[in-house]
């Protein structure tokens, strides 16, 4: 591991100034992803700026009814927060389906959004990877492809985004507050995470030095009836093959409003706008659910190892919406 300086500034503005002014500097929050990457040699910062102590670790409601989540709120606390459980069950469920109890206790809200792909070639320095070392090629395209993306891929990268939380936040249309050297700005989800294109080394639209300070959840009554469903190779403590975050409103058998996002399919959490469009105004039936999912997956590009993701995504969305419809009917 490369030697590094460790600093803990008292103010966010001085943390931003430090990182923005030093290409070798990196923020560290919980560190559950970054420390591992430093051990693996994937990341080699020369200076670590610890921001846990200067970012909010509280969930607060604004007068406009927006739930503001400080970037340092641990994943476990966010999942257990009473207002999140009540108003955004999809978010609690997504968080609880990710990692382990120990990791959720440390991993932060901001860091979860910025965690990097678990593509096995990205994590192995012996292999070429355009995300880790631009221009070296992509070993995953021709290699072990079970976890590869099927939507929005490029010839340069087929990695998937690993976060469950980000999939729920993308369905909910959360806003990310960012502090940079020029001041504050807001980035909407989806919109934070990029598709790989010809710059797969860039996971997000954030510039070096920009710091996530909070995530805001706008009022969304629809989300009270929402769920996260994750399919993986073992029952717990594994990344998604496919996941679905959905919120659904059904009135007299007709879908009046719906939000859908997929995980495990793309370089970014995938908001399924086409599926939502198909569903609005349609009967809440198995047939509609499948048609909507198939419309979203129509552009999928697959290889022999990950072709299963397309029917799996269709089945998973249908099952999630079926569950939400049944929940609605019981009320």
């Amino acid at each position: 591991m490369r030697p590094f300086d460790y600093v803990r500034p008292a103010e966010a503005s001085s943390a931003v100034a430090t990182v923005a002014g030093d290409p070798g500097a990196a923020y560290i929050g919980g560190g559950t992803n970054l420390v591992d990457h430093m051990k693996l040699g994937i990341a080699a910062p020369t200076s670590l700026v610890d921001v846990r102590g200067l970012l909010s670790d509280r969930v607060e409601e604004t007068p406009e009814g927006v739930l503001r989540v400080g970037a340092a709120v641990p994943n476990s606390d966010l999942a257990a927060h009473p207002e999140v459980r009540r108003r955004f069950p999809v978010l609690s469920q997504a968080l609880l389906s990710g990692a382990s109890g120990q990791l959720r206790n440390v991993a932060t809200t901001g860091g979860n959004l910025l965690q990097r792909t678990r593509c096995v070639y990205f994590q192995n320095r012996a292999m070429p990877c355009n995300k880790r070392e631009p221009g070296t090629g992509c070993a995953a395209v021709e290699g072990y492809g079970r976890y590869n993306a099927v939507l929005g891929t490029s010839e340069h990268c087929v990695a998937t985004h690993p976060s469950d939380m980000a999939v729920a936040l993308t369905a909910l249309g959360a806003r990310v507050r960012v502090l940079g050297p020029e001041g504050e700005r807001t980035v909407d989800l989806p919109g934070l995470h990029r598709l790989p294109g010809d710059r797969p080394e860039r996971d997000t639209v954030l510039e070096h030095g920009e710091l996530i300070t909070a995530v805001e959840l706008p009022r969304l009554p629809l989300a009270r009836r929402s769920a996260y469903r994750k399919v993986r190779d073992r029952a717990s403590y594994a990344f998604a093959l496919v996941s679905v975050a959905a919120a659904l409103e059904v009135v007299e058998g007709t879908v009046t409003d719906v939000r859908v996002a997929f995980g495990g399919l793309a370089h970014a959490p995938w908001r399924a706008l086409r599926a939502e469009e198909v569903l609005r105004g349609r009967a809440a039936t198995e047939e509609s659910f499948r048609e909507a999912a198939e419309a979203e997956l129509a552009g999928a590009r697959t290889g022999p190892d990950n072709a299963f993701k397309v029917p799996l995504a269709v089945n998973t969305l249908a099952a999630t919406l079926r569950g939400l419809t049944a929940e609605e009917a019981r009320r």
Binding site: G30, V35, K39, P82, L103, V106
Partner: protein, 167 residues
């Protein structure tokens, strides 16, 4: 680069100078001789290094010692009282919740942290109702302990031990 830090471990205060690259796990084991947290994978995948920081279970291999300045760290060894085992450790012994024992200190710390989470009403991935009371049946225990691997496969007895300790 070096830094001088204070670590509070199992009720004792230690001042030490560490290379900033030292993880909490390595500081505990190699610098302070506190060997109850074990190094398994060293990548946050096995749970053998689990300790309690401010009462919360965390992985000591995935945090730098410099980031734990002044934090209260409790290892499995520190859970024991005067001449007697912590009730969770006692339950592991009574239920044969191990074979080789290498993962056990991490399992015990994780179980202690988990029982506190459950007591606070935190739901899990397998909880049917996010807002309902927590009932620690075997399915809940297994899910909540999924971050601790046991390569001997003593899971059945680990679950029994934790079930007993929870009662």
């Amino acid at each position: 680069m070096e830094a001088t830090i204070t670590l509070r471990v199992d009720g004792e205060k230690h001042e030490l100078t560490v290379d900033t690259r030292t993880t909490l796990l390595d500081a505990l084991r190699d610098r302070l001789g506190v060997t109850s947290p074990k190094k398994g994978c060293d990548h946050g995948q096995c749970g053998a290094c689990t300790v309690l920081v401010e009462g919360r279970r965390v992985l000591s291999c995935l945090t730098f010692a410099v980031a734990q300045e002044e934090a209260e760290v409790t290892t499995a060894a520190g859970l024991a009282g005067e001449g007697e085992l912590h009730p969770v450790a006692r339950a592991f012994v009574d239920n044969d919740g191990f074979q080789c024992g290498y993962c056990t200190p991490g399992q015990v710390c994780s179980a202690v942290g988990m029982l506190r989470e459950a007591a606070e009403g935190w739901p899990s991935h397998v909880s049917g109702d996010l807002e309902g009371p927590v009932r620690l049946d075997d399915e809940e225990i297994r899910e909540r302990m999924s971050g601790n691997l046991c390569r001997c496969g003593a899971y059945a007895n680990i679950v029994a031990a934790i079930r007993e300790a929870a009662e």
